[in-house]
């Protein structure tokens, strides 16, 4: 598939048509994460319009979207930007393009679930800080957390942890399968 095809395919999957967008900026105007984004939702749509898949896949926007859907809600043409962003993010991952911080968090998170079946926020934060090389992030809250016993010292895995692992493994295989079928 060439780049234009891929872009079209991603938009089709997300049920988004680039011509629907007339760049009014209402999405980026209301996006809570916009200030931290490079393209922002409007920029994503603009890039799609000019066929710049590359700039979409390499943007921070696809990693920073928090999925609050405020943009779609207010969009005069009902362009589902978050759905498109999600598809673009999967495509980026398929190509090995990742944002380091997000990757560390997400992988740590999933490892957490694989290990225990549930997520333990403070454990997650601790591991994240280590792997992301940000030892001091949120350190100020640590004393409170410890003193109020909000962090379980030794988390218990759920009984079905094996089941959860199997589900994740199967789901990841299915993802690959779907991708292959598509190509």
């Amino acid at each position: 598939m060439n780049e234009n095809h891929t872009l079209e395919h991603l938009m089709k999957k997300a049920d988004v048509r680039s011509y629907d967008c007339y760049q009014c900026g209402k999405c980026s105007g209301g996006c809570p994460m916009a200030e931290g984004m490079d393209l922002g939702p409007r920029g994503i749509m603009r890039s799609a319009q000019i066929g710049a898949l590359d700039s979409i896949l390499n943007s921070s926007t696809i990693w920073l979207c928090s999925g609050c859907y405020a943009c779609v809600d207010r969009c005069p043409h009902d362009v589902n930007v978050p759905a498109f962003i999600e598809e673009a993010r999967y495509e980026a991952m398929r190509r090995g393009i990742v944002r380091r911080d997000s990757e560390v968090l997400n992988r740590t998170f999933l490892a957490n679930i694989r290990a225990f079946g549930r997520s333990h926020e403070m454990l997650l934060a601790a591991f994240y800080n280590i792997f992301a090389l940000k030892p001091t992030q949120d350190l100020t809250s640590l004393p409170h957390m410890i003193s109020k016993k909000l962090i379980p010292i030794k988390p218990d895995p759920i009984r079905g942890v094996g089941d959860v692992q199997a589900i994740i493994a199967r789901a990841e295989r299915l993802d690959k399968l779907v991708k292959e079928v598509r190509e």
Binding site: A70, L105, I113, G117, T140, I158, I167, D175
Partner: protein, 322 residues
């Protein structure tokens, strides 16, 4: 008696201790039976679906399919907006998207038909009969306690999945809070994303927006922010000192070093307590502070509760709540 299959969510076991206790208290008091889904697992929010669409649907579907198997007549309810969003989406996708339904079933290795609804606490507490029970269960009323109700974005949007009618200025929570005598304020960030999902991996980007929510609530004259989600709650209160110091820095121009604060312990800052809606209800229904473990809050809540429940003396307050 209303019965629901209950999905507590991971936060209930750690940071949301007080909220979890309050949930149990309130639902017990109004006579709603929450049957915990047996051996539930994490819904995957928000990393799983970031990485993989199928994993993101399969994890919540695991809990939902167990609920469907064990309690075929019960709708599923959760008290966390993040969990709600994932569970509801899995439910919605299985109902509306044949491909997704197929993937979910294959990944789970067992059927999930999505015949039952997924609800959040607000849906249940807003029922007329439940509101009536809340009213009778309330023993003491707050006075002049101004509350800013924060709904959280994921309880409300996307509209096509949640079916929420009013997405900019919802009133369901305000209408429940009123029952306790609290006075909801009109403010501008009821459904704005608080950035909880990215607090770890994009701290620099998310903290300003969390701070902005707090500032707007304070500007609207609120004494306390009410939340409908433990993730929102933790996120809104956890770094308040840091935000307050940042504001101070902006005002005075004097550089602030958060880590240093751990040692020098600066003067108390301009902060706003954050309570979950069920905590507010539980207190009005007579629950004590110790019973609810209200001391786990990062921003102390005792003062504002005492002020709201005027007539209590300071000693009673101390004993009851802190």
């Amino acid at each position: 008696m209303l019965r629901y299959a209950y999905f507590p969510g991971c936060a209930s076991e750690s940071t949301a201790k007080s909220t979890t206790l309050a949930n149990e208290f309130v639902f017990g008091a109004v006579g709603i039976d929450l049957v915990e889904i047996e051996d539930w697992c994490c819904c995957g929010a928000t990393s799983a679906h970031t990485l993989s669409e199928t994993v993101g649907l399969a994890l919540p579907a695991r809990a939902l399919s167990r609920a469907e198997r064990d309690h075929p007549d019960l709708d599923v309810v959760t008290g966390c907006a993040s969990c709600y969003a994932r569970l509801k989406l899995a439910n919605y996708k299985v109902r509306t998207d044949k491909d997704a339904a197929w993937l979910v079933e294959k990944a789970l290795g067992r059927p999930y038909t999505a015949k039952n609804e997924v609800l959040n606490f607000l849906d249940i507490l807003s029922l007329d009969e439940v509101k009536a029970s809340i009213e009778t269960a309330i023993l003491r009323k707050f006075k002049d306690l101004k509350v800013a109700c924060y709904y959280g974005c994921l309880n409300i949007r996307p509209a096509e999945v949640t079916g929420a009618k009013d997405r900019e200025n919802p009133m369901a929570m305000d209408e429940i809070a009123v029952l306790t005598g609290a006075v909801p304020v009109d403010w501008g960030f009821k459904t704005e994303c608080c950035g909880a999902a990215h607090q770890n991996d994009a701290a620099r980007q998310t903290r300003p927006l969390t701070a902005r929510i707090l500032e707007n609530a304070m500007a609207a004259g609120a004494d306390v922010i009410l939340t409908a989600c433990p993730m929102c709650q933790l996120n809104l209160e956890m770094r308040q000192t840091e935000y307050a110091r940042k504001r101070e820095e902006k005002k005075t121009g004097k550089k602030v070093f958060p880590l240093l604060d751990m040692v020098i312990k600066p003067e108390p800052q301009e902060t706003i307590p954050v309570l979950s809606l069920t905590e507010l209800l539980a207190i009005a229904m007579g629950a004590g502070g110790r019973r609810l473990s209200l001391d786990v809050h990062h921003v102390p809540v005792g003062g504002v509760i005492a002020q709201g429940l005027s007539g209590m003396n300071e000693k009673e307050v101390r004993e009851a709540f802190i």
